[in-house]
């Protein structure tokens, strides 16, 4: 009797069964791993900021302040007491969603991040769309024209985009289109000074202005977007192109594509049903890298264009030793990474039957 029960495969799902299915188990493991990574990131940053970095108090009190004033600031910020106690307090606050007060803005870091997120999003979304479409398209074209002029041209463009420092590209584009030609606005953020931002609906100035039927403001906001989006898209499309090209080259050489040709399918059909789907599987990871870059890595692009997003916030935080802000940004980035790569796993299990089983 007992043996029979034990011999039953654990994967069997019985109606009303209490057993954790393998999927739930896997999900539990993944979530556990994700929490571990986030904890590790938070702790590592805490250690760097509180132990390795120089004491920030000197930056926060007026020069010549007395010892008492310094200690008052210190205890106000939770920077007194043993490092373990500080860590405990930090984790306690964190669990309540309290990331502390930014030294730079004197605002809660949580609300600072939330306020800046729409700006980052407004930049990231168009850049990602352009980057992914352009990257995939160029990669596929290069593979189809392998060894021909188009392939070489794509390779030159790709290598140049990869080797280009984004902050320099931004400055050079500004020099051409703003300073010399005067066709695009300068690095003054999302909207020219003196123009009121549209009422918030989506968080995107362009969309919100259009919703408010204010085409003038929408045009101004869109003009501000052009150059930073180009620079950001430049950093996104090139890795996608490389992977899409090599995936497509491999697919075109594959036995199953040969089979499809051998059974009389049109070239178009072979490419769309057989080659493309396989070729684009590895592109999923590169798209995720692009998303991670657009949401967390575009620190200098936002910096160069005075774009008031999360990246610029982090950049200012580094330059001003604004540690609560930095810690908040790092946590945000870790959450973005963890969620993103969970989505990548999910995407692969949907797109590739070999991963599913």
């Amino acid at each position: 009797m007992v043996d029979a029960v034990l011999a039953e495969p654990t994967t069997a799902t019985r109606p009303g069964g209490w057993r954790l299915g393998p999927i739930a188990l896997l999900a539990g493991k993944k979530i556990g791993g994700a929490l571990l990574v986030i904890w590790g990131v938070v702790t590592f940053t805490f250690l760097v900021v509180r132990v390795v970095a120089p004491d920030p108090i000197g930056l926060l009190v007026p020069p010549g302040a007395g010892l008492e004033a310094r200690e008052a600031v210190r205890s106000e910020l939770g920077l007194d007491g043993s490092i373990l106690r500080q860590y405990g307090i930090y984790l306690r606050d964190l669990s309540r969603g309290d990331l502390g007060i930014s030294f730079g803005t004197n605002q809660p870091v949580t609300s600072d991040l939330l306020n800046r997120f729409p700006a980052t999003l407004e930049l990231a979304v168009p850049a990602l769309i352009i980057g992914v479409v352009l990257g995939t398209g160029l990669g596929v074209v290069a593979a189809l024209r392998r060894g021909k002029l188009a392939d070489h041209a794509v390779r030159v463009v790709t290598v140049a985009a990869l080797a280009m420092p984004p902050f320099w590209l931004g400055l050079m584009l500004l020099s051409v289109f703003f300073v010399n030609l005067g066709v695009l606005p300068g690095p003054i953020g999302r909207i020219p000074a003196g123009v009121d931002p549209p009422p918030t609906v989506t968080g995107s100035y362009v969309l919100d202005a259009l919703l408010a039927a204010d085409t003038h403001t929408a045009g101004l906001a869109a003009a501000q977007l052009v150059l930073p989006v180009i620079v950001l898209a430049c950093g996104i499309f090139a890795p996608i192109t490389r992977v899409a090209r090599s995936g497509m080259v491999e697919a075109l050489r594959s036995d199953y594509v040969r089979t499809a040709h051998a059974y009389g399918f049109t070239r178009r059909r072979v490419l769309s049903t057989h080659a493309l789907r396989n070729a684009l599987l590895p592109v999923i990871t590169m798209i995720a890298n692009g998303v991670a870059f657009a949401f967390t890595g575009a620190v200098l692009v936002e910096g160069v264009f005075g774009w008031p997003g999360i990246g610029q916030y982090a950049l200012t935080a580094v330059q001003q030793s604004d540690f609560p802000a930095l810690q908040g940004f790092v946590l945000y980035a870790a959450v973005v990474y963890v969620v993103l790569y969970a989505l990548v796993d999910l995407a692969y299990s949907l797109a590739d039957p070999r991963v599913r089983s």
Binding site: L36, V37, I38, G40, V41, F44, T45, V48, V49, V52, A53, P54, R155, V159, A160, L162, A163, M164, P165, P166, F167, W168, L171, M172, L174, S175, F178, V179, S246, A292, T296, G297, V299, L300, G303, V304, A314, L315, V318, Q319, S321, L326, F329, V330, A333, A334, Y337, V338
Partner: protein, 289 residues
């Protein structure tokens, strides 16, 4: 009267290496040849920049401020009247040196840790891999900025930090490589067949594991060059105004009309990064391109 030129015996290692190099040069991909030429050019520029520059790169006022590029000042002059060409040339060594040393350091340390993780397995592997995962969940550039800001300025700190940030990639690669070759079966076979240990190492193990690593390192170096200059650009780690391409670009940022102050150091970064990229591309197996 002709004196016979002494030639190395046909089988000697140096002759073989030379022949191998020549063959690579003749049949290697164009991109790799271009990368090698660019690299050579940059190395020459780096050395030349230390020995001789048309003007003293550190002295302002060798010309009037904001002179556009001309025959006397090839790359123009900056806001202080320093010669941009001399500064760009002098800065070459900084960027090349920082990039190369950081990559080598990451390669060696990542290699050691990766080999340890792959060879021992078990909890050592678990610990190293989880730590790696955590490090890779940081935006790389920001992690570098954070660490340099915490450690303070200094080129040494920049090297250590950039190497630290790049380390996980090497670690993973070498770990995988070691795990795949755990048995070193082909090495055993070669030793049984009568080869010496060192010979086996040189002829079988190193080439077998090294090619993908060198290719990765070159492509990684292309990225490291950009990270190094980014640190200079935002002025962490590298003192503002020091002969480094990124900080030169930063100093030209306030003078958008005088594009040349930022343009030429940026071209330097572009060339360095491109050179590494092409070299990495060229070492990838021909079939994979």
């Amino acid at each position: 009267m002709t004196i016979p030129v002494p030639t190395a015996p046909a089988g000697s290692a140096s002759a073989r290496r030379k022949a191998g190099l020549r063959r690579w040069w003749r049949h290697g991909p164009i991109s790799a040849r271009l990368g090698a030429s660019l690299m050579l050019l940059l190395l020459v520029a780096a050395i030349a920049g230390q020995l001789w520059t048309p003007y003293d790169p550190h002295t302002p006022g060798v010309g009037d401020p904001f002179l556009a590029p001309d025959a006397r000042y090839w790359f123009g002059t900056d806001q202080a009247g320093a010669d941009v060409f001399s500064m760009t040339l002098a800065a070459t060594a900084t960027d090349v040196w920082l990039t190369v040393v950081a990559v080598v350091l990451a390669f060696v340390l990542g290699g050691l840790l990766g080999a340890v993780a792959g060879y021992w397995g078990g909890w050592v592997d678990w610990l190293i891999m989880r730590t790696t995962e955590i490090l890779q969940s940081f935006p790389a550039l920001l992690l570098a900025m954070l660490l340099v800001a915490a450690l303070g300025n200094g080129l040494g700190n920049v090297i250590v930090v950039v190497a630290f940030v790049g380390l996980p990639g090497y670690l993973r690669l070498i770990r995988a490589e070691v795990m795949a070759r755990r048995g070193w079966e082909f090495a055993d076979a070669a030793i049984i067949a009568g080869n010496s240990g060192a010979g086996v190492l040189a002829r079988h193990l190193v080439p077998n594991s090294l090619t993908p690593l060198v290719s990765y390192a070159a492509i990684n170096a292309a990225w490291v060059a950009i990270v190094v200059s980014s640190l200079g650009f935002i002025g962490v780690g590298i003192e503002p105004g020091s002969p480094e391409w990124g900080s030169m670009i930063a100093s030209g940022r306030d003078f958008p009309d005088e594009y040349w102050i930022s343009l030429f150091p940026g071209v330097g970064i572009l060339l360095l990064s491109t050179a590494f990229y092409l070299l990495g591309d060229g070492t990838v197996d021909r079939d994979e391109r």
